[in-house]
Point group: D2
Chain length 419, copies 4
Amino acid sequence: MSAAPGSKGKVLLAYSGGLDTSCILVWLIEQGYEVLAYMANVGQEEDFEAAREKALKVGASKVFIEDLRRELVEELVIPTIQANAVYETVYLLGTSVARPVIARSQVAIAKREGCTHVSHGCTGKGNDQVRFELAYYALDPKLQVIAPWRIPEFYHRFPGRNALLAYAAEKNVPVSQTPSKPWSTDENLFHISYEAGILEDPNVTPPKDMWKLTVDPEDAPNTPERITIEFKAGKPVRVTNEADGTDVSDALDLFLYLNTVARRNGVGRIDIVENRFIGIKSRGCYETPGGTVLRAAHIDLEGLVLDREVRAYRDEHITPVFGKILYNGLYFSPEGDLITKMVPLTQANVNGSVRVKLYKGTLSVEGRWSDSETLYDMEQSSMDVQGDFEPTDSDGFIKIQSIRLKKWGATIQQQQKKY
Amino acid sequence: MSAAPGSKGKVLLAYSGGLDTSCILVWLIEQGYEVLAYMANVGQEEDFEAAREKALKVGASKVFIEDLRRELVEELVIPTIQANAVYETVYLLGTSVARPVIARSQVAIAKREGCTHVSHGCTGKGNDQVRFELAYYALDPKLQVIAPWRIPEFYHRFPGRNALLAYAAEKNVPVSQTPSKPWSTDENLFHISYEAGILEDPNVTPPKDMWKLTVDPEDAPNTPERITIEFKAGKPVRVTNEADGTDVSDALDLFLYLNTVARRNGVGRIDIVENRFIGIKSRGCYETPGGTVLRAAHIDLEGLVLDREVRAYRDEHITPVFGKILYNGLYFSPEGDLITKMVPLTQANVNGSVRVKLYKGTLSVEGRWSDSETLYDMEQSSMDVQGDFEPTDSDGFIKIQSIRLKKWGATIQQQQKKY
Amino acid sequence: MSAAPGSKGKVLLAYSGGLDTSCILVWLIEQGYEVLAYMANVGQEEDFEAAREKALKVGASKVFIEDLRRELVEELVIPTIQANAVYETVYLLGTSVARPVIARSQVAIAKREGCTHVSHGCTGKGNDQVRFELAYYALDPKLQVIAPWRIPEFYHRFPGRNALLAYAAEKNVPVSQTPSKPWSTDENLFHISYEAGILEDPNVTPPKDMWKLTVDPEDAPNTPERITIEFKAGKPVRVTNEADGTDVSDALDLFLYLNTVARRNGVGRIDIVENRFIGIKSRGCYETPGGTVLRAAHIDLEGLVLDREVRAYRDEHITPVFGKILYNGLYFSPEGDLITKMVPLTQANVNGSVRVKLYKGTLSVEGRWSDSETLYDMEQSSMDVQGDFEPTDSDGFIKIQSIRLKKWGATIQQQQKKY
Amino acid sequence: MSAAPGSKGKVLLAYSGGLDTSCILVWLIEQGYEVLAYMANVGQEEDFEAAREKALKVGASKVFIEDLRRELVEELVIPTIQANAVYETVYLLGTSVARPVIARSQVAIAKREGCTHVSHGCTGKGNDQVRFELAYYALDPKLQVIAPWRIPEFYHRFPGRNALLAYAAEKNVPVSQTPSKPWSTDENLFHISYEAGILEDPNVTPPKDMWKLTVDPEDAPNTPERITIEFKAGKPVRVTNEADGTDVSDALDLFLYLNTVARRNGVGRIDIVENRFIGIKSRGCYETPGGTVLRAAHIDLEGLVLDREVRAYRDEHITPVFGKILYNGLYFSPEGDLITKMVPLTQANVNGSVRVKLYKGTLSVEGRWSDSETLYDMEQSSMDVQGDFEPTDSDGFIKIQSIRLKKWGATIQQQQKKY
């Protein structure tokens, strides 16, 4: 399983089938490596078999295509939903969640196949180089990483697309005839991202035909669609749609069904400027159809069933930290390990169902209930029923709270300060 | 200005013109107080003059109607937007923001008029009793508060609406002929809330005719509407709508215009279960039309102009704290004072404009720009242009970040743990 | 097991043997209750048998004396040390940690004995009333609490010590002949507190003879004493003292030995002003001999073995929260439950030994090592050895970190601002 | 003012007079630069004039010696004390606080003298390279930095001390005859650090003669010394010592006097393992005599005068963040700018005096008072005096707090869970 004689060693290249990684594949062979191609199926639209053939044609000694969709949903997407994790208030971390499963699978195959190196086609300005490499290093500290877009002899040789095309022509690398879009994308079953190209001007409105996953809200059906999502311990366990009789409970199927419903109703688009890990600001557009619905439903249910202080603790001390860990590629790290163990501790009581309406890009919760949880108490909540509540207690509650406020107010008055 | 001879003193009652506070007014007189009625115009739909007459008719010695709309917008709503403050992820604090201006104005008038007491009609289970009273005590530690709904002889005498109606009849208190709605509301120019009554079952979908401020998304126009909001130091300073030639820059006018646009496009509804300060869970439905738009635009602009770490600091250390302070009625407190002084420190660079599209309940940002801020750098951000960026630097960045991860990864491997 | 006929029910009174709770015991009987006396042995200096006799003499129908020392150490003290929990930077929570075990044991006996009520002698201004009662209510929501010092007919009848003495004389309650100290104390094996009386003036230096647990540093031995503390998973598992051959490993014995060593060397005194839960400022003096040593050693070891980000997470998100939960009596609460489950997740690698020197009130760490943990790497740390470290990597690390700083610096320069 | 013809430009080198920076000075000239030497007087023990002569002798075209002691105390040390800033619970940031003033002064001179480059002698593994360079880049984004210990041709040429000595001999660089210590130090008026060499083994106890600033506690006087420190707005404004009649109020003098007292009483030593910014663990010993006293007194006074919630906010949201910013060299950054503006907002009421006793390494507060602040209220605090406090209020306070705990407790019971 060791590399061919004379070789600098075996490299497992994260391969996409596109122009960049095809040229990298050839270039690595040129540098004296044996190259094995690695592709992850994380739910993106892709002709994997065509990519396999292309990899072999341009010189890969082996090709691995791994279906990681289930582990992506079960190990990354669902914990992200449980934690309500988000980056900078609005970004649902669609690219970030896929990186750990891809890197872990790539490292495992590299180990099995005796590769001393792994490689990828990420640029030197983005987040993904960091996410992949920090994961590689944490998972196998001895692995060597080849990042051609950060190697001067590579990036000086290929200053732009034309240089790559010329190289491809010279090396007989097949090139797709589809004209390239004026932006780049990254897709998985959780989301698709659009960035670069014409989007670099943050005031350019994305063209209508850019959005790929979701229908334009204006073109969505004129009647709302309603579904019910059931959670157990904060995990979605069942989605039903009475109108069409849908009833799914497998984690992957359920997630794909949520995608379908959200896509056709135009739910899940955002357009933002974010701060990359390396400190550069960047504009991105994202579609996260099913994830947007799931997140909203989960947050809603927590209102019904989570204790106030547990919710507040999670919101302040887990949600933003987990978001940052995922965004910065630190899922495989001591802190990533810690936080992923903390999330389930907050979710034991997140049991119940949420009724959601989707309509032309809007998403609204129409009701929720829980059969097992009892923190919400209709009678206690009622303004009409007194229950076992003694209104005079509130008197003492307020009076005691006011002790330090009165002291402070008196000080202010005395010092003739003004609000 | 002292109370009439034989009186227990003067009470300034927060008066709404409704059945409850009218009966409280009469009851206070019955208890031996001189009662002055106080009404705050915070933008709610109300016939203030009718209420004035009613107060006088039932025995108020004076009536004060204060227009607090501008200070509500300038001192509370805008700082809330600047801080992106929110309670429990989703509630925009619409009721909370009005309480401080109302309490402050009521205390000022009480002081001026020589009142020894203030009173209100809040129940003993809600947040508003706490918000009003903590503000009263902080602003004037010597004021006495009369909260009839927490006084046993009052609440035992009036166990329900019928007892109040009987008392009103007995005392010649005019009663509105409009049948009361099966929920209660609180309205100001920022929002309206609906709670109690049929809404106490969290799985009951609110009836279509409950929503008062916003058009049902399904009934909203079939074509989107587009506006541009300009911010200076995080404050909205101008809203334009090219389609109809609108161009407003006064803070109050601008906010009211945003309400108009958001209302007609069905933007700003939520339906949630929240945790009250006193620890009871409660279901509430809210409409916050203009505020929803303003908040989204402000968050978007910050992506373009705020430094990453300043944004993160604010998000983690100011946003949730300010939200909790407002919700719990602690605006007038040492910590409220501190946090409101901190907010502007984070907003100096929040200068620029955001283009927003509204359509059938959806709200989307279509672009943003800033003439003065330069942290976003199109060239630096670009994946095509190298600028003064040296890709090899990322190598060192990643390698140094990986030092502790490799140590940890090696430990894990050695201990034969598994991810 | 139900109360005697004619009785208002059985009350389990937290009894100390002192004047207050003896009078309360008699008063409760006078009110028509059957009273059972409950005493917790949490390591305080106390003649439990004398107290038992006294309780029976003044009318208790039963007396329970529970030895809670081991559970106090194992369930409360050690987790507190693991979390480095502290309140307001300096207070080691010595009173707070004892309350949960006492309340839990009292509730368990109340349940077993068919008591419908529990009672205590805490005043209405302090923290302990809150700590006990919140624990009672969480552990058994149906229990009724009798807090005489908050019942007007009790506290008006006994406005001061003399009234209690007169009542004691009238009711044949034996009274200790020892003159009472001009401060009050609370003691357990973790600490002793002094407050009230002459200490209420925060500028009064406590008299030398107040301090009971520790020798005055000036009177401590003139030669240092050295011990070694070994931790496993953040828990102390062995203490050795080569000088005198001590070698203890039982959790309780080990803790008591640390107390002995710290006491004779004058370690563990503080004198502070703190903020009580109810919002009143209060001055307290505390001695926490063994706890002070254990905490310092634990913090030191974490420097050697804990990952930086795990340590930072714990320091920012667990340590202060746990401290506040303990101080405010919320150990038995949803958030207390959550945080106590989180603590051990951070301690898996806290394995190793710390060498500590004690001398006349000072406490210093002289060295530490770990046989199992490897994050500290002498070669990597070395300024002389390069190891597998490439100095040029730091170049990229710094350059990338500087991207956003340069942008910001340029903006500042351009706007002619000044630092 | 431009560089000499044929020169690669002018470099302003941070020069210490030692072997390393003297060799760097010569080497930079060898590389074709004109070198100006920069020395900062931050209170370290140093023969500045001898160093000046040496710099000129080995080829510096100019030498600058800047007295930064006052700005170090006023702009960095005091705000650090105000914020109670600390890194990893115990490190008082002694090295970190000096870096911003040094870097700022060096950048200002570089600008004035037309230097295109700055240089320093920091190694590639430490924190100081990062602290200096991030400050340089933020203060003047166009400055070029030369860090010889990260340039392969430099560090390969000088792999150890012997190579530097040989180079010094060859280039006639005078070398100190004092044998070098088996550790390295960094000193300023706030502290001295010891690291590397024999200290790299974290279990080696530092030799008694290593500690330079403070007397060994065992050799300190046998009688305690007492001083009083007065603060205004959180800043020390006066220190008095009745025993010897000292009374100082100038910020710099006052700080130097605190150093004197603390040094002779053996106060301020620590020995820790910390986590460097670049992720390597490192052992350091530190003496921070005056700073240790000042910090303890400041924390104590805050107990008396700061509102509970302001203190908690500062402790959780400012203290650790400021510590991390200083440690990581981000004082000149958007977040550093923000946090330094926040600190004074928390200190307005920190007015009063603290009485401190120093004795053989121990430091204890013996009393404190404030003439202007009134949050501490002896009567309110008193357990004997009722004041305007109504004990029944605590009833309501506790009952309301218990609402959600009872709900939770009932749930636990129902689910037959156990604590």
